[in-house]
């Protein structure tokens, strides 16, 4: 036991000084070759004894090491018995927008107002957040940063997790519009003496109409001939051109069916359902309309006591196995810090109906497809960005998710965090006391 700690401490000491936040790695200058690892490509395939080379931030080779005489290039990492994965992607995250839940001054996730397509998350994204850096040791290397609240919460952007500032972090700016679909249920106003329980909403149709009207007005505005600029409508431009994907946060079947009509009415090319608790009840409709789903975090309790205890665990599997394009998102209680558990959400989905490699897709290739960044990331394939990591074992299992190396755009990023530094500091204290 003791030996193991000593080794870990030695490791820390080598890395050296303690920083408040980890310094972003500099640009890849030397090619890196990873040899002998089991490569999990992220598309369902595995290469047992693999050879992976990346240069200038791009993957140049992914192949079976035994079937090639390819020259290793640059730095060589012997990784027999280890596993290589494409960097995990956390969609619908709020990382960098809030640092400490209970401290309002650190909270930048929810602007006031209802129709806020012009609100952009990326400019508030804190690249130096101590929570963001804590993603990396778990293999979560990218995320979609999404504003919360309102009917139209605003516009998200996709970032990578090793950057000096938000501009450097950005992978895809203003990638998506986020809408909180009206609910056909509403909570009783307890302060007005009503039962605080949940009851059918009388405002559902009205709320829908307002949303419809906003889209219609924006469209009319964008036809031109305006005397004055309307920032909210301007921000809708890319929605109608199809460049900004539409994410609709919705759970109920009825609402999902209404969302499908909405997609048709407004000819929205890329529409994604976020949450989707009852998406399994509308599978054919979703498929026929080319709608993908970001399934809510599986580590949650069922919403009704009548539901299967493992329903949240298996929902993604049900959808995936029936042919819906699915990825996992991690919003919910304490979502910032919990986003690092994304790999284990996939592991759980794997245990409940998917198997490991299919489950892996839900946090890699499928996510990249849904977010529209699959040309860059999401799989270990030639030509893709070298955002990947090496793990001691199965990265979807707590016991195996132990990273030895992580690369973002070919840059080897630090796996140290505020938390590992405290670990190191206090173990040093106790070890020196016991000497």
């Amino acid at each position: 036991m003791k030996m193991k700690y000593l080794v870990i401490i030695a490791l820390f000491t080598c890395i050296g000084n303690s920083f408040a936040q980890q310094t972003p790695a500099s640009k890849q200058t030397e090619a890196v070759t990873i040899v002998g690892a089991t490569a999990h490509l992220g598309n369902g395939e595995i290469i047992e004894n693999s050879l992976i080379i990346f240069e200038d931030g791009k993957i140049t080779q992914v192949m079976d090491a035994t079937a090639t005489k390819m020259q290793y290039r640059g730095r060589i990492i012997e990784a027999e018995g280890k596993h290589v994965y494409p960097g995990f992607i956390a969609p619908n995250a709020t990382l960098g927008l809030v640092e400490i839940d209970a401290v309002r001054a650190t909270d930048d996730e929810d602007e006031i107002g209802s129709m806020l397509p012009h609100i952009r998350s990326v400019i508030a994204y804190n690249a130096e957040s101590k929570i963001v850096e804590s993603m990396r040791p778990n293999g979560v290397l990218m995320g979609q940063i999404v504003p919360r609240g309102g009917r139209i919460s605003g516009t998200s952007s996709i970032v990578q997790f090793d950057a000096w500032n938000w501009e450097d972090a950005t992978i895809k700016e203003d990638d998506g519009l986020h809408i909180n679909w009206p609910s056909s249920f509403t909570r009783g106003r307890w302060w007005a003496g009503e039962d605080p329980g949940v009851k059918p909403s009388e405002d559902y149709q009205e709320d829908l109409l307002k949303l419809e009207e906003f889209f219609a007005s924006a469209k009319a505005y964008l036809e031109g001939n305006n005397e004055k600029t309307n920032l909210a409508y301007e921000a809708m431009k890319n929605v109608f051109t199809g460049d900004k994907r539409v994410y609709i946060h919705v759970d109920g079947k009825k609402e999902i069916l209404d969302v499908i009509d909405f997609k048709k009415d407004h000819e929205l090319e890329h529409l994604v359902i976020v949450g989707g608790y009852e998406a399994h009840k509308a599978i054919e409709d979703l498929k026929n309309n080319n709608i993908s789903v970001l399934v809510q975090r599986p580590h949650d309790t069922p919403s009704s006591e009548d539901h299967d205890y493992d329903f949240p665990y298996k929902l993604a599997g049900i959808l995936h196995n029936k042919g819906v394009l699915v990825a996992l998102e991690s919003s919910g209680s304490m979502e910032r810090m919990n986003t690092r558990n994304l790999p284990f959400y996939a592991g759980t989905a794997g245990a409940y109906g998917l198997g490991k490699e299919e489950a892996l897709k839900l946090i890699t290739s499928n996510t990249a497809k849904i977010l529209g960044i699959d040309d860059m990331v999401g799989t270990l394939e030639k030509g893709k960005t070298a955002t990947l990591f090496i793990s001691e074992g199965d990265a979807l299992d707590m016991r195996g998710n132990i990273l030895t190396h992580a690369f973002i755009q070919g840059r080897e990023v630090s796996l140290e965090t505020h938390q590992t530094e405290l670990y190191q500091r206090y173990m040093e204290k106790y070890d020196s006391a016991s000497k």
Binding site: M1, K4, Y5, I8, E99, I100, D101, A102, V103, K130, I131, S184, F185, R187, W190, D195, P196, G197, V198, K199, P200, G252, K253, K254, H299, D300, T301, P302, S303, S304, E305, D306, D308, Y309, D310, S333, M334, R336, M337, R340, N341, F344, G347, T348, G350, A351, L396, D397, M398, R399, N401, I402, Q419, T420, L422, Y423, Y426, M427, Y430, A433
Partner: protein, 996 residues
Amino acid sequence: MKIRLLLCLVFLVSLQAKAQEYFPKNDGVKNPQTNYTVFKNAKIHVSPQETIESGMFVVKDGKITAIGKSVNEPQNSIVIDLEGKEVYPSFIDLYSSFGIKEPEEASGNGQPQYDANREGYYWNDHIRPETDAVESFNYDEKAATSLHKAGFGAVNTHVPDGIIRGTGMLVALNPGGTEGDRILKDRSAQYLSFDKSKLSRQSYPTSTMGAMALIRQAYLDAEWYGKGKSENKDLALEALNRNKSLTQIFATDNLLDALRAGKIGNEFSVDYVILGDGKEYQRLHEIKETGSTFIVPLNFPDAYDVENPFLAEHVTLEEMKIWNQAPANLKMLAENDIPFTITAHDLESEKDFRNNLLKAVSYGLSKEDALAALTTTPAKILGEGNRLGTLKEGAWANFIITSGDYFDKETSVFENWIQGERAVINKMNTTDITGTYDLKLEGSTYELKISGKPEAPKASVKSGETKLGAKLSFSDNWMNLLLSPADTTKTGFTRLVAKTDDNKNEISGTAYLSDGSETDFSATKKTSTETAEAEEDEKENGEDEDEDIREIMPVSFPNKAYGFSEMPEEESILFQNATVWTNEEEGILENTDVLVKNGKISKIGENLNAGNARVVDATGKHLTSGIIDEHSHIAASAINEAGHNSTAEVTMEDVVDPTDMNIYRNLAGGVTTVQLLHGSANPIGGQSAILRLKWGENAEDMLFENSPKFIKFALGENVKQSNWGSRSRFPQTRMGVEQVFTDYFTRAKEYEEGRENDEDFRRDLEMETLLEIINSERFVSAHSYVQSEINMLMKVAENFDFRINTFTHILEGYKVADKMKEHGAGGSTFSDWWAYKYEVNDAIPFNAPIMHSQGIVTAINSDDAEMSRRLNQEAAKSVKYGGVSEEDAWKFVTLNPAKLLHIDDRVGSVKTGKDADLVLWSDNPLSIYAKAEKTLIQGKVFFDIERDKELREEIQEQRSELITQMLEAKNKGLKTQPVTKKEEQHIHCNTLEEIH
């Protein structure tokens, strides 16, 4: 008994004496009334068991002076012939707020109020035994009329406000008399509840467990006060002592609270009469064990409107089952010999009362039991058995007159007499004109059919097969029939007017034709043979229309989805060829058998003989001891008593909710034992409940037997109320937190001294608990985050010469692990939570591994109903963060929490002789891919993944059956209620019942 007899004698004697009247009169001469009223020829229901066919009785001055088959008829008698009619005693409602104005809610300034409004009374405003209903009573004519219609003659009314509410009064609903006549007893019973008074905003208690502790303390204080030990005057305690001899009625609004009331009653030997909520049938055994009489409402839920399938999804099986089962509640209570009375207090309309009562009878409640519950039983409870509830000489002349059997739907209730005063409900001498007639009008013959109740008949008129428009109004025996032609395009009304006569089979009168002319008409009743056939047809149809008897769904335990229809039996089971994680020196054993017998682990070894045991092939599977969660808030009806900064007197054992679905879900995650902790609203919280997750058992039986005593302490942001609430409560800083502890422990020491020197010393439940802590008889589990406060609490404890048993959360434990080790504290922490509050800024997932490395007994807990069902995965995070061995990591959620809870002699490892609390896993239990397949507690299988599959199907079947029943109900035109959605709330330490 003797006193009762004596009272009866006095009463009888007083009857003989002439009542003297002493009120002056200025608006005329006195005109005294000394006549008798004689009721004759009635079928008299003297009591639920005794009936006099064609009997008579005499009433004078509001009382019955004689009753029997044939009694002497005084000369100055007014005679009322009740030929063909029946007489019942008027009903009595024990739970009422009739005539009491609803107390007005106190207003406040938005800040919590900690002190009482009142002076000279108890320190807590919600203890109001001095309240007398009679002080705020005014006869409410409108409400009385409604009660008359429902059949009530007397109600026990009270001010429904506060925890100890003071006395109620027994009122006769005499429509003609004065308050002087009506008030039968001014202090007839004392009322209690778990709900606070509206008249004060005093915070304490914020929870049911606080209310329970407060009642206990008030009882103890009253006893002490009664010994003359108090230096100050306390009018509330004086009243409480005075009210002790009265009937004690405890109002509750849910089944768990009813059992809680029963629990307090048993502790203090008070036989509460308990107002229930109509769901007593779900826990008949426990209800019976309270030994209480129950006051049961008839508020059967309406069917849910499930026409919209989207909405129907949100009705739970439990809600639907309750709708299906509730009408059979009274029948089941009666079958189990549980004494009960019936109340109408929560019914919207008096019509619902009889309808629902008849419904209960149609579901199997006997008429005798129904009558007893409305007459003799409540009368007896109030000690008024001789004056109320039966019709006998000397009793109040409180009775109802009906057209027949009260429990026949067709029967009309005519009059409700109270204290000899008549309230007319339906005219008694109404001619019954129902029947089929040949109506002759202007040379044509029509068929006139009159149906319905005699006092509200309906008519239909046919000419041959053509139906005419007909509208009948009937009052005071005058009939008005409006006829319109079958052809609706024509207008041409004919109005028939006639005075009817009971003795004739003919109605004749005048017809006013559309042209303004008048002519005679007559309608002759057909003989019974002529109409019999037609009536029979009608009856059959009629029954289909409004009878609503459903097949009752069996009660399960708990009575909701995944409940047991039969509780699991203790089994002998042999697990063959498993990988066994012993948590003992043997470590992890491959290919090993484990034999479970008599609830214990009987043998561990290879190739064990199964004997009679059921064999479970565990090849490729892993067998472990059950997971123990040191920090849980599932299975609780309340979490925080936030009304004071110390609430050591409250206990979570009082508020266990054995019906929480999270119990089942935790079992499905391999959890067998949890410590149900009080929340962190205050530095000194409440006592814990250690529970075995025996799904389906009642609250008491879920408590870990001979459970070590624990209490929750809390430090930091929550107790400072940093993130919510007021800025007025001490403490607002960590500096103040220390002083709270020091202050309370100092006072506890002084209390101990006082107690030793005075045998009549006031018993203080809070101080008693604190002393248990100081004397190391009760262990502390302290919610803590930052190192300074952890250190502080250890020093405070050391100053008072005890130790902190467990620091829970303890996210900076890694910073003071050496100090904790020296102090002897254990640590129970989250695997990786942080960043949710300022004080968890330095929380690290390496915390458990570091504490463990320094020799601290370390556990990983949940504090969360979602995480608790995956604690195996949370333990596995210690392998990732900090490199703990799998064997040690597994102990973080099994053996180590067992040690922290001092139950490791019984659970926490797979060892011969320990309780068979076992989990069979599909895989290495630390693996993300592992599923619990069987979860056993003391040798009983409480979760089985195969059984779970069957239950899922059963739930679907039951749901669709009940939805069909509800759709049928709606189709029949029965009332429905809109669907609402139950929302699951994840409860954490800082969940406050009052903060939404």
